[in-house]
């Protein structure tokens, strides 16, 4: 198992320092939450780890590998999968197709072989389908397996996106606000699933989340940031009681 080590990470957007010298490490098997007010730079940290943005400074290592040497489409091959804050599914495809694309990093692909559907194509499809069905069972989304994403409700989309990330069999999962826009009941479901994912699949989780209730329940450690700068790292209670955090994040003067 590998740990994620981020050191002195920075990025600027036209003079705005969205992330400013942030360092943290996530141990294997841990659930690590990132909190902070709107525009603090949380999603930007995820986008840096998935190599969508190029940092102006700092380093990101996952295990032995230096992530900055890896092109964006190779990040998942190291075992890092993610979800997006605004849900980014393949709209015109079915749930099943979305999940099968989730298996992409585990599939070999050859244009001519696929065109002729030869050399064990059917056997391979079956095998990946079985893996996808395991995830479908885990997240209990079997009833909309054949639906188009554009016909799904918001909550269902959230589940499908999580399922799609899990299909890549990640060792590290980046979840950008898994409970945003969900009602209390759905949020409870999310916390159960996160437990399953953690214990059954042994996945390390890094999540951005505003719902402090959820963070308190599932996170082992929490990092608070504001204006791109690190405020505090520690257990959920430590961070909640940190005066800097209260002032910046909760707006309560210390």
């Amino acid at each position: 198992m590998s740990s994620l080590v981020v050191e002195n990470l920075s990025i600027e957007f036209g003079g705005v320092r969205a992330v400013d010298g942030v360092s943290f490490a996530v141990e294997p098997g841990e659930t690590f939450a990132i909190i902070g007010p709107n525009g603090a730079g949380k999603s930007t940290i995820f986008n840096l780890i998935s190599r969508i943005y190029e940092p102006s400074n700092g380093s990101i290592h996952y295990g032995e590998r230096n992530l900055l040497d890896v092109p964006p489409h190779r990040v998942v091959n190291l075992g890092i999968a993610r979800t997006f804050q605004n849900i980014d599914l393949f709209e015109q495809a079915t749930v099943l197709q979305n999940l099968l694309v989730g298996r992409h990093s585990r599939m070999s692909r050859n244009l001519l072989r696929d065109f002729l559907f030869i050399a064990g194509a059917r056997a391979r499809e079956r095998e990946h389908r079985r893996k996808v069905e395991d995830i479908i069972d885990l997240l209990q989304i079997a009833h909309y397996r054949d639906q188009k994403i554009s016909d799904l409700s918001y909550g269902a989309r959230k589940n499908v996106e999580l399922a799609r990330a899990l299909c890549a069999e990640p060792t590290l999962l980046l979840l950008d606000e898994p409970a945003s826009g969900l009602n209390q009941e759905e949020t409870d479901d999310v916390s159960f699933w996160l437990d399953d994912v953690k214990h059954d699949l042994g996945v390390t989780i890094v999540m951005v989340e505003h719902d402090m209730g959820l963070v308190g329940r599932v996170a082992d450690r929490v990092m608070a940031i504001n204006d791109g700068k690190l405020l505090a790292i520690g257990t959920p209670d430590e961070v909640r009681n940190n005066p800097d955090v209260q002032q910046a994040y909760l707006g309560i003067p210390a």
Partner: protein
């Protein structure tokens, strides 16, 4: 709602899973095979041409309908296919070898175009593919020693394995054989990782990338296979035309191909086929229109391209799912009769993406 009980993963892997679909396609193929028995030479030749356009439509569908990369340049691949094949056959290369070489050559040019296209989006892509088309048309027109230039080029007679095939029905079977091959192969693509990667790139490059898809390479591949298939259509078209000239493969032809897939329905093989049927009936429609319109308008030179444009716009606005969408609704109506409700196809809700990154 119609419920299909699934008992095996193979039902999702098979190209035709519903029984109704299976029966319809079998009937269609059988009647296509039997067509020479009851169609006269003129209609048989028209039907062959329709198949050629279906192949071209499927070619364009792969890059535009499946991968989401619009192309105004696909008539160029028809042209390259037609000329390359005719030139090769004139120099004595056998038909089958020429088909393979021409297809590969078109695929290669397609990949080159895809390489430049992989960094462009929307409007820029449209302009770049249009520029490509104009360059190809010009090269074909000016390279007189090879192509005969604007004077034209005589296509050698159809001859396979040394046997001349002068009859229309023989040519029709060649068209049909290649059409079936292309449809089958494209359906295969769609049920395997490559096809899913195409759809993924169309719907979200960001997600595709995060799941391990090399977006640039997928676009190059998509343009490659798309161009190769359109090239096959070009080969067959050459034999239908018998005489090639560069203007045949211009902007109007490209527009016609786009018209086909938009009207037929973007994003499906059946859409391309419906589009080919529509485009084949278009001349009839056009002559009817000429009769009704006052002389001053009907004699205008630009009537045809303008009509193409108008139809494309009307479909994009009023029936984005094309004829194929209508067809699916109709089938649904019969399958679920009398429980069909108008709302069956209305989406529950739409969510807009606020933050998009490429």
């Amino acid at each position: 709602m119609q419920i299909i009980f699934k008992t095996s993963y193979d039902q999702d892997i098979n190209i035709l899973s519903k029984r109704g679909e299976y029966i319809r396609v079998t009937l269609l193929i059988v009647s296509m095979l039997a067509a020479p028995l009851f169609l006269d030479v003129y209609y048989l030749s028209e039907l062959g041409l329709l198949l050629v356009y279906a192949i071209a439509g499927i070619g364009l569908m792969i890059s535009t309908g499946f991968t989401g990369q619009v192309s105004f340049g696909h008539a160029a691949f028809l042209g390259i296919g037609a000329y390359c094949h005719s030139i090769l056959m004139t120099t004595g290369v056998p038909f089958s070898v020429s088909v393979v070489l021409t297809t590969l050559f078109c695929g290669f040019i397609g990949m080159l175009l895809g390489r430049s296209a992989s960094r462009m989006h929307g409007f820029y892509l449209a302009v770049a593919t249009l520029a490509f088309l104009i360059i190809v048309e010009t090269v074909i027109g000016e390279w007189t020693s090879l192509t005969g230039g604007y004077a034209g080029f005589l296509v050698p007679e159809l001859q396979i394995f040394g046997v001349y095939l002068p009859e229309i029905w023989q040519q029709y079977y060649v068209d049909l054989g290649l059409t079936l091959f292309v449809v089958w192969g494209t359906a295969n693509l769609l049920r395997s990782p490559t096809g899913r990667a195409f759809l993924a790139v169309r719907d979200s490059e960001l997600s595709a990338r995060s799941l391990g898809i090399n977006v640039e390479w997928v676009k190059i591949q998509s343009f490659g296979i798309s161009a190769a298939i359109t090239g096959i259509a070009g080969i067959l078209l050459a034999h239908h035309l018998a005489y090639l000239s560069p203007e045949t493969f211009g902007v109007l032809e490209s527009l016609k191909l786009l018209l086909m897939i938009v009207v037929g329905g973007l994003g499906s093989i059946t859409g391309a086929i419906f589009g080919a049927i529509f485009v084949s009936l278009l001349p009839v429609l056009l002559s009817l229109l000429r009769d009704v319109l006052p002389g001053a308008i009907s004699q205008q030179a630009g009537l045809e391209p303008m009509l193409f444009g108008v139809i494309i716009v009307l479909f994009v606005v009023f029936e984005p799912d094309g004829i194929n969408g209508r067809w699916k609704k109709l089938l649904h109506f019969f399958e679920t009769f009398p429980y069909y409700r108008k709302a069956s196809f209305v989406r529950q809700k739409r969510y807009l993406k606020t933050e998009r990154m490429r």
